[in-house]
């Protein structure tokens, strides 16, 4: 199971890098979304996938047998943060499209000399 997850994570990272290298801002934002999905799944996988072990301590199950709850807590935090950042990024992209009239990163390259 961990192997399949690793392949999936690798694919997500690959797709994210591909999208982030494109010129269109909206593709870049989707790329950042995929990148954080990949990182979150990595966190889940690296914490050890529980398999058949129960998610919470039940009667008759020793404490060492139940699935590690920490990765889930970490992921929840990380998801909330990436959700907030992505929504901020979308608003920023829209606002800068209004103001600058383009979403092409090539045209956003200028420095203060090119004002």
């Amino acid at each position: 199971m961990e192997i399949i997850m690793s392949v999936a994570i690798g694919f997500l990272f690959m797709a994210a890098v591909y999208l982030m290298l494109s010129k269109s801002l909206i593709r870049i934002i989707i790329g950042t979304g995929l990148l954080s999905h990949g990182a979150h799944l990595l966190l889940l996988t690296m914490g050890g996938l529980g398999g058949n072990s129960p998610p919470v301590v039940a009667e008759g199950v020793s404490v060492s047998d139940y699935a590690d709850p920490l990765p889930q807590a970490l992921i929840l935090t990380a998801i909330v943060i990436s959700f907030a950042v992505t929504s901020f990024f979308l608003v920023l992209a829209y606002r800068s499209y209004q103001e600058l009239g383009t979403d092409n990163m090539e045209l956003l390259r200028g420095t203060e000399d090119h004002e």
């Binding site: 990182a39 990024f89 200028g110």
Partner: protein
């Protein structure tokens, strides 16, 4: 243990929340922001005195036993940094009154500044690596707001890049945390410091250590990850730039300092040598930039990068003078960068431009400003007895005692370049033929000038009275060099 160490985080959080209720009430906004920063500074000072008297403070939230709950730890280093952060935020708030503009002030400027302080203080205080990630995100969120605040065209353009770089580094941060957790099974820094020496496979840990170096390197702007900094920092107005230049990169520097002294010490021959080499390259890259531009903001921005290199070189030596020098230089750099940006801001307002070639002759009309600037520039370059000197001296000494003596030579040589880059502003802006300046009301000038002078005075006291501050610095260095003090304080409550 007392909850005192949480106050510098909770007080600004409270004040920032209150500030968000009435954005349009200008006077009230200014007053509450100043009071919030002031109260935070007071609580941080009390904390520093307490920590210095009774040793490392630690609180584990929710009364969980130490490695399971989230630990907040205040050792002398983090207490010193929290005090400096609160001090600089207070001055930035005062400096913002005349410079930032009423429109920005009425659009949640002060809440964002105070929230930034929440994140920075939290990142300096936390004792848990995932919690560090969370606090870094808090301060990044506030910095996103500040960098785009006002929505001018260059700001929007640069914010996109700033945001993208930080999202990538945050994703890498999560990935690095995941790897660390899978190898060690813990994220509490003190617990990591216990578990890591027990692991025999040091190869994988070295890889993780370098991953963390990349993650924190993005924030700290080390070579070659500093590429985003000059462009992004150039966009926002001066008070925000001063806040960023003084605080944001230092969070990355602090994180490297903490992790590379506390637990990533299993393969010093590789990781710390790498850190030393990268630090020297950072200094050289910064020097090139500092000499290449004719723009006052750009010159000081590249000086941020140089200072990051100098501090990290001291950390890489991992001996007493090196680490103590780094701590001293870190505090000095936070203060002096804020002061320099304030001064450069005044100069830029007076000329209505940041281009050095369009400036000149200011010493005739504003002599005091000129001499204050010169003192600050000398402090930046580390001319004794000003505040840059003791830190640099210790770092260079640390370098000569360690294997990377050539690094110390580079630092000594580049000090001259730093001096040249800062004095160039003096030569162009203050000497030469007078250029017509923008008329400025005396009261507005004083409002900008007084916080600046006080901040410069503090840096001078910090340099001349270095002997007074050395007990604090060596206390901080002792904890960094003996991780067992830190571990005992957290785990054996």
């Amino acid at each position: 243990m007392s909850n005192l160490l949480l106050f510098p985080i909770i007080i600004p959080l409270l004040f920032a929340t209150i500030l968000m209720i009435f954005p349009k009430r200008l006077k009230l906004q200014r007053m509450i922001a100043a009071i919030g920063a002031g109260v935070t500074l007071l609580s941080a000072l009390v904390l520093l005195v307490k920590v210095n008297a009774d040793g490392v403070h630690a609180v584990t939230l929710g009364s969980w036993p130490a490695p399971f709950g989230i630990s907040m730890v205040s050792d002398p280093l983090s207490a010193l940094l929290v005090v400096t952060t609160s001090l600089i935020t207070l001055f930035v708030v005062f400096y913002s009154f005349p410079t930032i503009g009423v429109k920005r002030e009425q659009s949640y400027y002060y809440p964002a500044v105070i929230f930034l302080m929440v994140g920075v203080n939290g990142a300096f205080t936390t004792g848990d690596i995932f919690n560090l990630f969370v606090f870094v995100e808090v301060l990044l969120m506030a910095s996103y707001t500040l960098i785009v605040h006002g929505g001018e065209r260059p700001q929007l353009r640069e914010s996109i890049k700033y945001l993208l770089v930080n999202i990538i580094s945050s994703a890498l941060f999560v990935a690095a945390v995941a790897f660390l957790y899978s190898v060690t099974g813990t994220l509490n820094m003190a617990d990591l410091a216990v578990k890591i020496p027990q692991i025999e496979e040091t190869g994988i840990l070295t890889v993780i250590a370098v991953m963390f170096l990349v993650v924190f390197g993005f924030k700290a702007a080390i070579f070659p990850l500093y590429f985003w900094l000059p462009g992004s920092y150039y966009a926002p107005p001066i008070p925000i730039l001063a806040l960023f230049g003084a605080l944001l990169t230092k969070v990355g520097v602090y994180a490297i300092m903490r992790t590379y002294t506390l637990f990533f010490t299993m393969n010093i021959g590789f990781t710390h040598e790498l850190l030393g080499i990268v630090a020297i390259l950072t200094i050289l890259a910064g020097c090139v930039g500092a000499l290449a531009y004719f723009d006052v903001k750009k010159i000081i921005i590249y000086n941020i990068i140089i200072a990051v290199g100098v501090i990290l070189f001291g950390v890489a030596q991992l001996n007493q003078p090196g680490v103590e020098g780094s701590i001293f230089y870190l505090l000095h750099d936070m203060l002096i960068k804020a002061a320099l940006f304030f001064l450069v801001g005044i100069v830029a307002v007076l000329f209505g431009t940041t281009d050095l070639r369009k400036m000149g002759g200011l010493i005739k009309t504003y002599p005091v400003l000129g001499w204050i600037y010169l003192v600050t520039a000398f402090g930046l370059a580390g001319i004794p007895p000003l505040s840059g000197f003791p830190g640099k001296l210790l770092i260079v000494q640390g370098g000569f005692e360690g294997p990377q003596f050539w690094g110390s030579i580079v630092i000594l040589a580049t000090s001259l370049i730093v001096l040249l880059s800062a004095v160039r502003i003096f030569i162009y802006a203050f000497w030469g033929e007078p250029v017509e300046t923008v008329p400025l009301k005396k009261s507005v000038f004083n409002q900008m000038f007084i916080p600046t002078v006080i901040l410069v005075a503090i840096t001078v006291v910090f340099g001349v009275g270095a002997e007074l501050f050395m007990p604090f610095i060596s206390g901080a260095g002792e904890v960094l060099l003996n991780p067992s003090i830190y571990i005992d304080a957290v785990l054996k409550e």
